[in-house]
Subunit: 114 residues, 2 copies
């Protein structure tokens, strides 16, 4: 089921069987909104339709210099599938032209809520 | 209300009134678990009890070289309160001795779920 962004809710928990991508993009403040728009387009048009996609959560820094995508995939193999997908690969050079990305795969090891 | 870690659940959504801290720590793989333990202790003993704390979510990278804390605070002022709190400040040099941190404050601007 795909829901519209405003109703979408991502959860972080220890027991979820998934891999987390934290992709931190360094960007010039004057390009921050453009980068956000590109990442939203890439998610809507391509990434969000690929096998194993669970969620994407795009954040813009208050200082204007960073954009971070907190994304969840069912498995490492599903995440790696992005790089084999021609449509997904099309988005990458455009994004790379205005931002430097640092994608890292994680597992959740602790959560605490107030 | 404070819940135990295994039942804790963090949500990411557009309509939440909060500020998100994404704090990425670069660490040697042989120190990754020690860093996780230090961050868990700091959260349990101090950060999680401070005013405005909403959540902390500690992630370790699959390659061993990174630890990321995805944390939520009610406001920027509440987050900044950490640095005024003597007990919270006590944790920082120990953590800084084994890891280099890059804390950045964000707002959520887009979420999509499968």
């Amino acid at each position: 089921m795909s829901v519209i962004s405003s109703e979408s809710k991502t959860t972080i928990s220890l027991d979820a069987d998934l891999v987390t991508l934290v992709n931190v993009f360094k960007v010039k403040p004057e390009n921050q909104q453009q980068l956000v728009d590109m990442l939203v387009d890439a998610t809507e048009e391509t990434m969000g339709k690929l096998p194993g996609f669970i969620s994407a959560n795009i954040h813009k820094s208050l200082d204007g210099e960073w954009v971070t995508n907190y994304a969840q995939w069912k498995s490492v193999e599903d995440f790696r599938g992005i790089f084999q997908n021609p449509e997904a690969r099309e988005h990458m050079p455009k994004i790379g032209a205005i931002a430097e990305s640092s994608p890292v795969l994680y597992e959740v090891c602790y959560t605490k809520n107030a």
